[in-house]
């Protein structure tokens, strides 16, 4: 904006002189023009002046011509800075646009002609008809002077015309060099004048974003990148990747490595991740990178290049391996004072129920005990202590209360043993020690549970010794199928996302084993899908495809068969087009499963992309009325949620569409809708969704009601939301006689109080930018299992509930000092504000409260440091953040 004041200053000088010079020739004209009566004295003078210029510009005398044109230019320039209305000179020159245009054609090439072209280009801003792009035409014909001197509006208009012209020329395959030259000028102008969004928009239109890198500087790169990253969500196909690539380049250029790393992770580009590590020299910052990688839940091996020093490398690798997660989580728990274990009764709060006393049952109900086992596991997840499982084992001699484990029936014992893994979540050492004694049990279900527990406790944690693999591998070929499933599922959970080849070599043979029962094969497929999530691994895909083709007709009708295509889909999670080859193959499957497989693959492949076309495709599938027995609409409904969950706008639209499905859909659609809503708002209890689900939880159809109850738990997962807790409590009395529904209500209660309110299931993190593939995979498996609640969760495969462990993460901000020890600092926590495209330094949060770290962050919350004393090494304050002392900080007296 610097050039502007100069212009006006010089401009205001000139016209006065001219006015005095030309005064005598003006007089006769005034009397002729009667229609301009309503103009003020001043305007009238200006008008006449301009008319005079127009006349003179067509004069034969070149000198006079030049003078007239220059004066005219001067007049225009001084006024175009205002944008609120059509500037007066332009308004008065409008009638003469045609005259000047025709005169221009008659002129011989000269500087003067260019000068006139410039003026015409500006006049075209208001005059030219839509689509003529005359402004651009004359701009290209005119002198190539400073584009900004004509003011902002002119540049903006020009940019618009360039975009149109560009697409036209590309269609005609004409050259665009002259346009690009102009673009360069415009971009430079925009970037200098805080109009980054306009610059980016223009460059996107002309597909020349590389230019941006040249023009960003220290002051505007952040805004530019913010605009780039947020617009990338709405871009189709390969464009979004190239946009993010540019953002990555810019961040790297300005050494904003954490942001660069985040984009690299978004693109799932390990090359970029490596680059970030190699280009950053600072060890402390590398540690922060490791925390970011750990949160994303991907496995990553550092090498010499990324960190030369062995000891440092080990320290960094340890952070990536998430070994300190348990410690940090417990720090948070101690700070919030929720270490005290809670029993299921503390969660049910039956005494708050109005009107109805609980019917005192003197006999244990296996189903209710199982529910209590799960509630206990979820609520005390990661705390290492509880009131059912760990207590009895510590009081020697079996405990007088009787061992809770054996208050569960058959396969319930598997879930009960595995719950130890959940209670000791992330604390591998303690967890394995706790589970050890159960390995030696002579009860197959207990052993199976112990194996699964090992997987749960190792979930998201990597260890050099690979205890999970070493412990579980021996059990993979056991006779008993529940033990096999325990070991297989355990491996899947422990090594999710690692693409560990040892596991693949061990598991793929099971898929081809003709003697293996269906449930073993189904869980093997899921485990492989988890380990190779989003990898597009051909071999694994082949193995699952063969397993699917080998199934007999009757197998294909089994509810568990749905896990096979799901395992296949997980391999392509979020990988969009890469799924196409496999999708083609799936068309050759047995007709019973073909459609189902197709939907599952598609929904997984486009999960988290926000692709509107795919959402429409799924909606189209749901609009069909089916012959009885087809089930593919369930995954299609889930697919809507999986695809649309990417960004807020699409999410809201999806919620509305689902509402329609609820009204017009048939039963197999209606029962999936609550689950889709649950996924869309996971750990984010939006009030209107809560109300919808609450309504559905009383639905006449039991399956719809069960799905709605579970979803109520999902949307409130880890929030302790009082309203949902109240709803569920009332549901527990409403359904006290219906064992299955009551079981669902209990599970939902466990979800809501998960980790005593310190956890979240949201797969999105880092201000909703990054999507953790393993977390999403875990949720999707659970939701697919919920599509046939009766057969799977209410049947003997209730341990699929433990798949949520993949998505469980502390919803905390824990600040650590340079030695990675917790450091309490004041932070402001408030509702995040969208600041994309806003000028200046807008506030990023609103309605904030100041707390001391560690703090809990709710969905949609953002934190900022409330002290200048430290500098955070990550721009996004979530999870573990390293603080560095601010060298410029001076304590105020």
């Amino acid at each position: 904006m610097e050039s502007e004041p100069n212009n006006t200053a010089s401009g205001s000088g000139n016209p006065k002189e001219e006015a005095t010079l030309k005064a005598p020739s003006k007089d006769p004209k005034t009397k002729d023009d009667k229609k301009d009566e309503d103009l003020s004295e001043e305007d009238l003078a200006l008008k006449q002046q301009l008319e005079l210029y127009v006349e003179r510009a067509q004069d034969a005398d070149l000198g006079l011509q030049k003078f007239a044109l220059e004066s005219m230019r001067q007049e225009i320039r001084t006024s175009t800075s205002s944008m609120t209305s059509v500037p007066k000179p332009l308004k008065f020159l409008r009638p003469h646009y045609g005259t000047l245009k025709s005169y221009y054609e008659t002129m011989a090439d000269s500087d003067l002609k260019k000068l006139l072209a410039d003026i015409l280009s500006v006049l075209a801003l208001t005059m030219s008809a839509e689509g003529d792009r005359e402004s651009l035409k004359y701009r290209l014909l005119g002198s190539e002077g400073d584009i900004g001197s004509w003011g902002h509006e002119y540049v903006r208009n020009l940019a618009g015309e360039i975009a149109q012209e560009y697409s036209k020329r590309v269609n005609e395959e004409a050259t665009v060099d002259d346009l690009i030259e102009l673009v360069e000028q415009i971009v430079a102008f925009h970037m200098k004048h805080n109009a980054e969004p306009e610059a980016v928009d223009l460059l996107m239109e002309v597909e020349y974003l590389d230019l941006l890198v040249k023009h960003v500087d220290k002051t505007n790169y952040k805004r530019t990148c913010l605009y780039l990253t947020s617009s990338a969500r709405y871009l189709p196909g390969p464009d979004d990747v190239s946009v993010l690539d540019i953002a990555y380049t810019i961040y790297s250029k300005f050494e904003e490595f954490p942001s660069a790393l985040q984009i690299a992770l978004y693109l799932d580009n390990m090359q970029h991740v490596k680059q970030v590590f190699t280009s950053c020299p600072d060890l402390l910052r590398k540690k922060q990178f490791c925390y970011i990688l750990a949160r994303q839940g991907i496995s990553f091996e550092l090498d010499e290049e990324m960190c030369a020093d062995d000891e440092d490398k080990e320290a960094l690798q340890e952070i990536i391996n998430n070994t300190k997660l348990s410690e940090g989580y417990l720090t948070l728990a101690r700070d919030i004072e929720v270490m005290e274990p809670k029993s299921p009764e503390d969660i049910y709060k039956a005494h708050l129920l109005d009107g109805r006393a609980s019917a005192g049952a003197s006999v244990d109900s296996a189903r209710q005990n199982l529910a209590a086992t799960f509630v206990n596991a979820f609520v005390n997840a990661g705390f290492g202590q509880d009131k059912l499982m760990t207590v009895t084992s510590e009081t020697s001699g079996g405990g007088s209360l009787g061992n809770w484990l054996f208050k569960n029936k058959e396969h319930g014992k598997a879930s009960a043993t595995a719950s130890l893994g959940m209670i000791d979540l992330w604390d591998v050492d303690t967890g394995l020690a706790q589970l050890d004694k159960y390995f030696h049990s002579n009860d197959n279900h207990v052993t199976a549970g112990a194996l699964l527990g090992v997987g749960i406790v190792n979930c998201g944690i990597k260890n050099d010794c690979d205890p999970a693999l070493a412990l579980l591998a021996d059990y993979l070929d056991k006779e008993d199928s529940s033990i096999r499933i325990g070991a297989i599922t355990g491996l899947g959970l422990a090594y999710a996302g690692t693409q560990n080849e040892q596991i693949r070599d061990k598991l793929t043979p099971i898929l081809g084993d003709p003697k293996a029962p269906l449930d073993v094969i189904a869980f093997t497929s899921i485990a492989l899908g988890l380990v190779y999530v989003g990898s597009c691994n051909e071999e694994v895909a082949q193995a699952i495809i063969f397993a699917l083709m080998d199934r007999s007709e009757s197998d294909l009708g089994e509810p568990l068969t749905r896990l096979l295509p799901l395992g296949l889909g997980l391999l392509y999670l979020g990988k969009q087009h890469s799924v196409e080859a496999t999708a083609e193959v799936s068309k050759t499957f047995n007709e019973k499963i073909r459609k189902y497989c197709d939907m599952t693959l598609l929904s997984c492949a486009y999960a988290g992309t926000g692709n509107v076309l795919k959402v429409q495709h799924f909606l189209g599938q749901c609009a069909q009325h089916l012959e009885k027995g087809e089930t593919f609409q369930g995954p299609a409904v889930l697919g809507i949620a999986m695809v649309a969950m990417a960004e807020e706008l699409g999410l809201d639209m999806a919620i509305r569409s689902l509402e329609h499905l609820l009204q017009y859909g048939e039963q197999n659609i209606r029962k999936a809708v609550p689950l889709a809503l649950g996924l869309l708002c996971i750990s984010n209890p939006k009030v209107h969704v809560m109300d919808t689900l609450s309504r559905l939880s009383h639905d006449a159809d039991t399956e719809v009601a069960m799905a709605a109850v579970i979803s109520l738990g999902l949307i409130g997962a880890g929030t302790n939301n009082a309203r949902i807790a109240g709803m569920l409590r009332n549901l527990s009395s409403y359904y006290y006689k219906e064992a299955s529904l009551l079981f669902c209500v209990r599970i939902a209660q466990g979800f809501v109080h998960m980790g005593k309110g310190l956890l979240t299931l949201a797969p999105y993190h880092s201000e909703r930018f990054l999507l953790s593939p393993t977390a999403l995979a875990g949720l999707v498996v659970l939701l697919h299992a919920c599509l046939d609640m009766k057969a799977i969760i209410l049947g003997k495969y209730h341990y699929v509930l433990y798949f949520v462990v993949l998505a469980m993460q502390p919803r905390m901000l824990l600040t650590v000092d340079e030695n990675l020890k917790p450091l309490a600092v004041p932070v402001r926590v408030g509702q995040a504000v969208d600041v994309v495209g806003q000028a200046g330094r807008p506030k990023t949060i609103t309605g904030f409260q100041t707390h001391s770290t560690p703090v809990l962050l709710a969905a949609g919350d953002r934190a900022e440091l409330a002290t200048e004393k430290y500098i955070p090494l990550s721009p996004i304050l979530e999870g573990f953040v390293i603080l560095k002392e601010n060298p410029d900080f001076r304590e105020e007296a």
Partner: protein, 483 residues
């Protein structure tokens, strides 16, 4: 000889030497010394799995300073308890009843809620049940008509069914027999059975049972129903005009609680109900005149039935209209002041003992409160008298109750055990529901086929004054004292 560090749980043992010439078992023994974990339970993670006792060290490629991880505990191996728990899901249905803690509901067969609720209330009287069990299937006494016999048998069978099932029972047989015996219940309106007055049903059934259960075998003319429900009244009939006075005695099966503008509480209503005016011919005056009848209770039943006279015949609308007035009733009713002087004398001694007992209990309670405040439910079932332990089967407690019958004394204090409520504006419409206290002290609302647990506090809220369920018939059980 490489030295390695071994991580076990949270501890790290640095510098453990491996003798590569020996088998790994020796190494495990080394670790046994350090950790106390027996070698057979040690799981040591090495490349490619767990270290086996017979592995070859050279093939494992142990490096100097390598970190090994050992998993294993010396903890006792968990064993299943010898006797596994019994789960509700596995129980046969009749045993589930005990577990559920209440008996089954009754299906509504078309406006039969009046009958269902009546039967649920009567079903809660164990003595009646045991009397019915003894009732012979075939051998009916001569003075009993066939339909009464059948109704009694049906009642017995229905009670049996209720005890055996968790799922609601359809009282088809009973319903048919009842209609046969009392055709008025079979009235049709628009092709469906009409709603009836529950009080009428109650009275009729009790009447039939009293006929049937007059056991002919025993020499004493023992009428079970009368013994259980019969209230002896002694009335002084007084004529103000002539000054005549006479005494009458009678036995009724229920006390009436009259509801007028002054009545706010059951007690006041009962007093009203015991006073009546009747018009009859006076032998001395030679014309009919008004007599005042003032009754007092002379003999107490085990089960005191109280009917709230909520319905009266409204001539204008030709239907039984309902009085919605709120009349409070207590969970514990003392009718001492409604008794005759003779009875009062008899009651004095047991009442004193009861007071002493209560005092002792209160003292005990204080002590108990210090130790545990959880036992409030237990206390309640204690107060119920002879029935001990809610877990026992109903038959056991029942037998006990009968056996101890002889040597217990009534005290004039009664506890509420069942309430039959009506919701709606007239006796022949609306809905009847039974609220019955179970043997374990819990209240259950029997809304036809749907038993719903309720809290004791809410039972007294059925006292009327709105359109909610309001008490129509209350049944109190005598609090007795062993002598």
């Amino acid at each position: 000889m490489p030295t390695v560090s071994v991580k076990w749980q949270k501890e790290l043992y640095p510098a453990v030497e491996i003798d590569t010439t020996q088998s790994p078992y020796v190494f495990k023994c080394q670790l046994y010394d350090l950790t106390g974990v027996p070698p057979e339970r040690q799981k040591i993670m090495v490349k490619g799995g767990i270290l086996k006792d017979d592995s070859d060290w050279s093939k494992l490629g142990i490096k100097e300073g390598q970190k090994l991880m050992m998993v294993g505990t010396a903890d006792e191996i968990v064993k299943a308890p010898e006797k596994g728990p019994v789960f509700m899901e596995d129980l046969p249905e009749e045993e589930q009843v005990v577990a559920v803690g209440h008996s089954a509901g009754l299906f509504n067969l078309g406006n039969t809620c009046y009958m269902n609720s009546t039967m649920q209330c009567l079903h809660s009287v164990p003595e009646l049940k045991s009397a019915l069990i003894e009732y012979p299937q075939s051998g009916r006494s001569n003075d009993l008509d066939q339909s009464s016999h059948l109704l009694t048998v049906a009642t017995r069978d229905l009670f049996n069914e209720l005890d055996k099932n968790v799922k609601p029972v359809a009282p088809m047989q009973f319903w048919m027999v009842l209609r046969k015996k009392y055709p008025q219940f079979g009235q049709l309106h628009n092709g469906s059975f009409m709603q009836q007055d529950a009080e009428e049903c109650w009275t009729q059934i009790l009447y039939t049972l009293s006929q049937a259960l007059r056991s002919p075998s025993t020499s004493a003319n023992l009428d079970t129903v009368k013994e259980l429900f019969g209230i002896d009244l002694v009335s002084r009939v007084h004529c103000a005009e002539s000054g005549e006075e006479s005494m009458e005695t009678e036995t009724v099966y229920s006390l009436k609680c009259h509801i007028s503008h002054e009545v706010n509480h059951l007690h006041e209503g009962l007093k009203h109900g015991l006073k009546s005016e009747l018009e009859k011919a006076s032998p001395s005056l030679g014309h009919s005149t008004v007599y005042l009848k003032d009754s007092r209770i002379n003999g107490l039943p085990k089960y005191l039935t109280i009917q709230f006279v909520r319905f009266f015949w409204k001539r204008e609308s030709n239907q039984k209209a309902k009085i919605l007035r709120k009349v409070d009733y207590p969970l514990e009713l003392d009718i001492f002041d409604l008794c005759s002087d003779d009875l009062r004398k008899k009651l004095e001694a047991p009442r004193q003992m009861l007071r002493d007992e209560d005092g002792r209990k209160a003292g005990l309670k204080l002590k108990q409160k210090n130790t545990s405040s959880v036992d409030s439910d237990v206390k309640m079932s204690d107060a119920e008298g002879p029935s001990t332990g809610s877990g026992e089967s109903s038959k056991a407690t029942l037998g006990e109750g009968v056996a101890s019958d002889k040597n217990v004394q009534l005290t004039g204090v009664y506890d509420l055990v069942a309430v039959l409520t009506h919701k709606g504006r007239s006796a022949d419409s609306g809905h009847y529901v039974a609220w019955v206290k179970q043997e374990n002290g819990k209240w259950i609302q029997f809304d036809d086929d749907n038993p719903i647990p309720q809290r004791e506090e809410d039972i007294t809220k059925l006292s009327g004054g709105g359109d909610w369920h309001m008490a129509y018939i209350c049944m109190y059980k005598a609090r007795t004292i062993p002598m």
